[in-house]
Symmetry: C2
Amino acid sequence: MTQPTGPAAKQAVRHDAMRARNLALVLGEVAARGSLTRAALSEITGLTKTTVSKLVADLIEAGLVVEAGTVRAGERGRPGMEVRISGERVAAVGLEINVDYLSVRLVDLARSVRLRRTQAVDNRTARPVEVIAALRDLALGLVDEAVDIGLQVVGGVLAVPGPVDLATGVVHNAPNLGWREVPVPELLRLPFPVRVENEANLAALGELWFGSGPPDFLYVSGEIGIGAGLVVRGRLFRGARGFAGELGHVVVSPDGPPCRCGARGCLERYAGQDALLTATAAEDLTELVTLLEAGDPRALAACERAGRALGVALSSAVNLVDPDTIVLGGIFARLFPWLADTVTGMLAARLGQMRSAVPPLVVSQLGTEAAALGAAGQVIQQVIADPTASLPT
Amino acid sequence: MTQPTGPAAKQAVRHDAMRARNLALVLGEVAARGSLTRAALSEITGLTKTTVSKLVADLIEAGLVVEAGTVRAGERGRPGMEVRISGERVAAVGLEINVDYLSVRLVDLARSVRLRRTQAVDNRTARPVEVIAALRDLALGLVDEAVDIGLQVVGGVLAVPGPVDLATGVVHNAPNLGWREVPVPELLRLPFPVRVENEANLAALGELWFGSGPPDFLYVSGEIGIGAGLVVRGRLFRGARGFAGELGHVVVSPDGPPCRCGARGCLERYAGQDALLTATAAEDLTELVTLLEAGDPRALAACERAGRALGVALSSAVNLVDPDTIVLGGIFARLFPWLADTVTGMLAARLGQMRSAVPPLVVSQLGTEAAALGAAGQVIQQVIADPTASLPT
């Protein structure tokens, strides 16, 4: 196609780009501050009140913000009508494939979790196409229910337990699922765009947006595998290829037991769910917790060993990335009472002399829901960063 | 003091803020693209030609840019005069305290290295005040020489081999210097502001700005200590407290030999300069290289051991931060021929199955000068990011 290129067309392109930038600016401020009057928005953004009113009208029409009631700002002046993010029109889907469950979450633009569906499965015995088909059914059911409550799904993000090629969504190797080179997006084919990302990264974002996460922390996701997500000033650190945070394969002992990843002595071999269950002959995590509560020596010794290994790997992580806080999530949240002292002691022993403060260790508030919530939250961030895509042109 | 607060004063504040932003915008584009006409700057920034001309005039007057010759842009139109960053007025000082040398570098705003002074010392046997006084003398001599060639020093950054509190410049603990809680800035007192930062971080930035560094890499600084600087999309990753990149204390073997940092089995104990010299009975690095060139079995075995340990620690680093490339600098640059195969082999063995690509290992082009150049480069970046501080008001 030939594009018009004269001065008028150029001016129109500039005007559209400016409008998109200003819409994002206004929506971003409303999202960050909860609710604001048009006058306050004009003050903050430096845009004129007329421009702000026009932009707010467009955002209201698109269902992205709503009027929220009047406030009187300061002593003088007319009371203003505040606007806030609307939870009534636009929604996002967070999806997760893990080793032993599938889950989907519907979250509205105001970050309320509206619908939850989880399905227990054993994805190690199923083929990738079967797993993805089951997830597709779960998600389509959720979308139908979303429509019933007046919500329109604008996008989704899928969490998988392994490194993902962010450009293509291909899962190169998820050893705990037994997946290699699985082209997830083309198999999933949902009626909205879906990006694929690593589970631990998304769980970290879940903790940031839906939990009690401070703006700088290393989130540790204990599952059958162990991953980590580093959040820096409220943003996820992904690394050059999106493969950062593979804490489970950090070296605890270079000549230790062989790992599914091909290396030896990785953290996962000492502190992953399978290592813990095998060492204690427990059927599942609930049984392990019961044993620990009963003071079973073998269970306590396995947690001690896992805690020491976690402390070693985390001391390497602190030396490399210097997080403000360490948040233990996934199975480590349930095992926190039996891990915390060992991990904290190891961190103090290895880091205490070099640093004025060793990062505190805290427990995640979200448990296994963190990744799916972080996934939905990413879609919401995207809408807020670029609302033009959700507006009628 | 009482600030005027009426609408006129508010407008003046807004105008000043806008001018500062626009000056930074114009100077940043010139710095990023080498040289540009005023017309091209107007096109890129969206500012009017009149505004651009006024901003460029201010930058020329401040000595930050100069006119560089005429070009004819495209087929039609008048030829335009290009402007580029000026190397004739403003300069920065990069300083370094290392275990066995002091160095200062004078770099102009166009990033040419104008003066170099290095002094061999043994800072382990001297008190911090003596070391800092010697550095002060070296720097003051350099500033005098800068004045003689018409350059005005606007600031400096000092590299030290250990973690630094970025807010105060206090070196909490630099075990290889034997320093604890040294308030460097108040001891140094130079006639321009000086920030203090970790040596490896600054060496990474030196590699980025003055070497052949790609925009995403992990720079490994081998000295008596071992540090690393992670550069992500052209920016240094510092961590929550500025202590990221302590690769020397990443765990190679959790029950290995005790390290000066208080932990055991840290990388530094296997691959630091002292470990290498002790294992080979070499006096210094030059002697070690001579032994390696002669095929001395003990020297070769020590490099093999260091390379394996470096491979283990770097595989943990790649798992955690996923750098695009690994750059070996400092003593590892000189030892590269005897380390590279072992390190590469270890990375492939530990990472190859999980990742479609293992980060390539390359050698630094700058050697021991990297940190001081990165330090000066930081001052230059600061001037370009906020030129208003260098302008007459």
